[in-house]
């Protein structure tokens, strides 16, 4: 696109009109190039790629109506405004159907011209941004697909290789010695694969606009239910789980399933990355229309250099032995997404070998007015 973002090309066979447009628009700060016929105008447009073209509909030779589609061929983002001598609706509508953004019936005042040009420029700016966003989105999508594919392939490859070697070297003593361990590793990697798929589906569902409920949710109950399901697992690791949330203190409006997923991911992490005999503590407070719930563990902690990245998809801090890196790398990005959707956030404070505290901030529950309910919002 032309660097001269303030360039307007004016095409009109009437000298007085060209002069007048130039004077009005140059006064507003635009750079103006004028042409007396469509052919010359199009040549310049192809060269300059201006954001805006003003063209008279009635001209000898190539008419304005014929110019419009040719401008769009050069670049569909160029905004075209037509000047009409006959203020008939048909002509204007036909022009718009051919791709013009707006029309200006003669005679028009300087202010009318300026206003239309201002709106057209704004329209152009938005179209540019939207195209850029689309390109970025497509790039990200492709990168993401490659990334996901690699994440799914990795455990499958590991399992395949183990099975292949087990089969080929079945009677070798080294393999015999490792058999049981390798079977366990294969099973572990299968679980890893299932975890990735499950998280991936959760993320997809969050992306989609599946109807989500917007009800009153007491986080004390959600957290309580989650901790109860992990009671046995925690005891096996020698961990103590504690729910310090009080009833009716941390209450939000949202979808119970989504909020369960959010806290489930945090609590599972707190259990997984903990130490024997450690603790997982959930507490919370409310104030100023907001609710804060923290999930604290006494685990290995997160090195400071990684703390900003842990919410990114697929990011995992690699343990000293790669075998200790479990999990899918999607859990925290799911948490972040759920929180953001309701206008909240998840942050972390952590110290290596001391532990981590994840804090979830959410808007507090409020009775809704009829308008707010109609407008939708929240989860």
């Amino acid at each position: 696109m032309s660097e001269a973002a303030g360039t307007v090309v004016v095409i009109d066979d009437d000298y007085a009109m060209r002069l007048s447009c130039r004077k009005i628009l140059e006064k507003t700060g635009f750079h103006v190039e004028t042409f007396e016929d469509g052919i010359q105008g199009l040549e310049a447009i192809a060269r300059l790629k201006p954001p805006l073209v003003v063209v008279d509909l009635k001209m000898p030779g190539m008419s304005g109506m014929e110019v419009i589609p040719r401008v769009r061929d050069i670049d569909p983002l160029i905004v075209v405004v037509v000047i009409t001598g006959y203020a008939t609706i048909d002509t204007a509508v036909e022009a718009m159907q051919n791709g013009a953004y707006d029309f200006l019936p003669k005679p028009f005042s300087p202010d009318e011209l300026r206003l239309i040009v201002k709106r057209a420029m704004e329209r152009h700016r938005l179209a540019l941004e939207s195209r850029q966003a689309e390109v970025e989105r497509e790039l990200m999508r492709r990168r993401f697909v490659t990334f996901v594919s690699h994440q799914l392939q990795t455990p499958l490859v590991a399992i395949h290789q183990y099975l292949d070697v087990l089969k080929q070297l079945d009677d070798s003593p080294e393999v015999q010695a490792r058999r049981q361990e390798w079977f366990d590793r294969c099973l572990k990697r299968t679980e890893e694969l299932q975890g990735i798929i499950k998280d991936w589906l959760t993320l997809s569902q969050l992306e989609g606009e599946l109807a989500r409920e917007r009800v009153r949710v007491d986080l004390h109950q959600i957290v309580g239910d989650i901790l109860a399901t992990y009671e046995q697992m925690a005891r096996a690791e020698g961990l103590t789980l504690e729910n310090r949330l009080k009833e009716n203190t941390c209450v939000v409006r949202g979808d119970r399933n989504c909020l369960s997923v959010l806290f489930d991911n945090l609590i599972v992490n707190a259990i997984k990355y903990n130490r024997p005999g450690g603790r997982v503590t959930v507490e919370g407070r409310a104030g100023n229309g907001e609710v804060f719930v923290s999930v604290q563990d006494t685990g290995i902690g997160i090195p400071e250099k990684y703390q900003a990245m842990i919410f990114d998809e697929f990011f995992r801090v690699k343990g000293e032995g790669a075998k200790t890196t479990t999990g899918t790398g999607l859990g925290l990005s799911i948490c972040r997404r759920i929180a953001r959707e309701v206008g909240g956030a998840v942050t972390v404070e952590s110290q290596e070998n001391v532990g981590s505290t994840f804090v979830v901030r959410l808007p507090a529950f409020r009775e809704e007015t009829a308008e707010a309910r109609a407008a939708g919002g929240g989860l």
């Binding site: 492709r142 490659t146 594919s149 392939q153 490859v157 290789q161 070697v165």
Partner: protein, 142 residues
């Protein structure tokens, strides 16, 4: 076979399970296997141990970590001629991931898809190392 004639293979891959199964297979076939978990460790080990052949995964922590590591290795005089096999779970034809086998900026010797066919890998390794062995004794009149 005496210890001197055992060839050294360096495996650079961040998946410990993959390294374990492939290593055992290669050791069973009388190779000494060195291991590295990422590109920089791979570079360090390669410079120190001067392996006879290197197996390198292309995507470890970073998307192109393997490629950059190969470049660095080629810049090291002692490693400039070491055969390097690139391994990847993504295939050559996959969109966004095309590797022309003889790319001038990526002097690798083979591109091998994962999961790896172990027998085929073994044959390729032997062919490559066998050829080098033969080159150590120049043919008459060459």
């Amino acid at each position: 076979m005496s210890l001197e004639s055992k060839k050294k293979i360096l495996v650079v891959d961040d998946d410990a399970d993959f390294v374990e199964s492939v290593s055992l297979f290669l050791e069973h076939n009388n190779f000494t296997v060195l291991k590295a978990r990422d590109g920089s460790q791979g570079l360090k080990v390669a410079r120190m141990e001067k392996p006879d052949l290197i197996l390198m995964d292309v995507m470890m922590n970073e998307r192109t970590e393997g490629f950059f590591t190969v470049q660095e290795m080629r810049r090291t005089p002692e490693l400039a001629a070491t055969p390097i096999f690139i391994l990847s779970a993504l295939y050559e034809t996959q969109a966004g991931f095309r590797v022309k086998p003889q790319s001038s900026w990526l002097a690798h010797d083979e591109f091998i898809a994962k999961p790896v066919d172990m027998q085929a890998l073994l044959e390729k390794i032997r062919a490559r190392l066998g050829a080098r062995q033969a080159a150590a004794f120049p043919a008459e009149g060459a």
